[in-house]
Symmetry: C2
Subunit: 296 residues, 2 copies
Amino acid sequence: MDLSPALQALSARADTALARALPSDDQHPLELHRAMRYAVLGGGKRLRPLLVYASGAVFSATPEKLDAIAAAVEIIHAYSLVHDDLPAMDDDSLRRGRPTCHIVFGEAMAILAGDALQALAFQVLANDRALGVDAATHLDMLRTLSLACGSHGMAGGQAFDLAAVGKKLDASELERMHVYKTGALIRASVRLGALAAGCKDMAVLSALETYGHSIGLAFQIRDDLLDIEADTEQLGKTAGKDALANKPTYPAILGVDASRAELVALTTRALESIETLGANAEPLRDLARFVASRLS
Amino acid sequence: MDLSPALQALSARADTALARALPSDDQHPLELHRAMRYAVLGGGKRLRPLLVYASGAVFSATPEKLDAIAAAVEIIHAYSLVHDDLPAMDDDSLRRGRPTCHIVFGEAMAILAGDALQALAFQVLANDRALGVDAATHLDMLRTLSLACGSHGMAGGQAFDLAAVGKKLDASELERMHVYKTGALIRASVRLGALAAGCKDMAVLSALETYGHSIGLAFQIRDDLLDIEADTEQLGKTAGKDALANKPTYPAILGVDASRAELVALTTRALESIETLGANAEPLRDLARFVASRLS
């Protein structure tokens, strides 16, 4: 399944927002800025920006208002990929069909590019003048992003991942790892779109949290299934690598059939959680379906 | 020269604030939180927190109000040291008299600890409830911190540093590197203390910027001089390493005598820039003198 034309247009919009948010590569330090742009602008589905746009659209926020937030969450995602790919981490040389950042720019520059990208995401969000929310909400958004990135979020998930290599996890440990590692930033993206759009309804924010939690896990199960079903060319990254690296995956722990069933259950849960949000939530529903059935 | 007793007390206060700001090491993921605490709580002069306290004191802000900011800037500093010490960067095994983070926890965990610390600093600053400033000022503080950390700040300086190894820099290129690498966070620390204390006077903020700029460079010159004058035990890190690594330093480029003269000139400039700020600025003056004459 591909993205709908409307979501494809928003994905392209996110690319434009990202190109604008990044320092141009004629600014010093040149090599660092080149590495940062290479890491972020190399394609990708832009799922997290799409979640920002789709979540904001529920409350009628225009894409213009959401561009900087969309850029900020994708910049965080891109930095995490650069660091995950490092030799000391997953040691991967291929990402989105291109050599990884440290292959092109060297390990030291890749570490720095990731570091600078993390700072840039906070800067972009803190500087966002188009946002038009009150300063207290703006601060809440910065809190949301920082929590999602830290040791109780994405970085914590990566630490669980490191600790898990070569070990036998049970299903709940595997889930915890992914709730942190990819789930935290996905949930934050959904929440940030809603906050930017002025949503202050705790029940709705909680429903969106359930939506984000569910598609975050669904995304990972689909990822694990693709790793054994698809080939490297289709994925744009090394296929079959999880099994080779003895990484715990859903198919390895639950079996392929149970993993597929869990994927369906999570997608259903995601859709149910936003059932009452009306027609404006259709892009969020499209994204839930896309996450469950994407081919790369 | 040692810190005055009053500044020593504030340094201990910063340690307490840091221990409180960090996740306890009985929280999961355990190893990550242990690495984060190891990286931050291993001693150090706490210069940046002291600058926050001293700058806030100019406008009569109490230390209580400044604790979280003091912790945030030191957490950023600690993260930068962890990443600088990595094998792909400066490859250093000793820091503050102890094995560096990657020696104790491994390279992957050290990368993650640095990443999580950067996020934590923003979280601590965004979450700061004791601050009591208006939300717009609070946002300005987050902007200040993010700018200081990114590619036009600390991470950018590290990139200049990488590019400089083995090359012949002139004095202005060397200065640019340090204005970014250590200067940005030092200037930010001074500015954050003032903003937290409610200072909105642009002329005063600009004077403090000059102060921070001057002591930032003075700090680096003193560092370079200590590297050739002091021994490893005294420094708590490997002495003589700059020359061995063929790193550009002030003594190498200006000569030792001219470096000492520049250190005096910068200290004088720092003191002059805050001359009109009265008796409350005495701690800032003490810090300028300390930076110029410290023995480790």
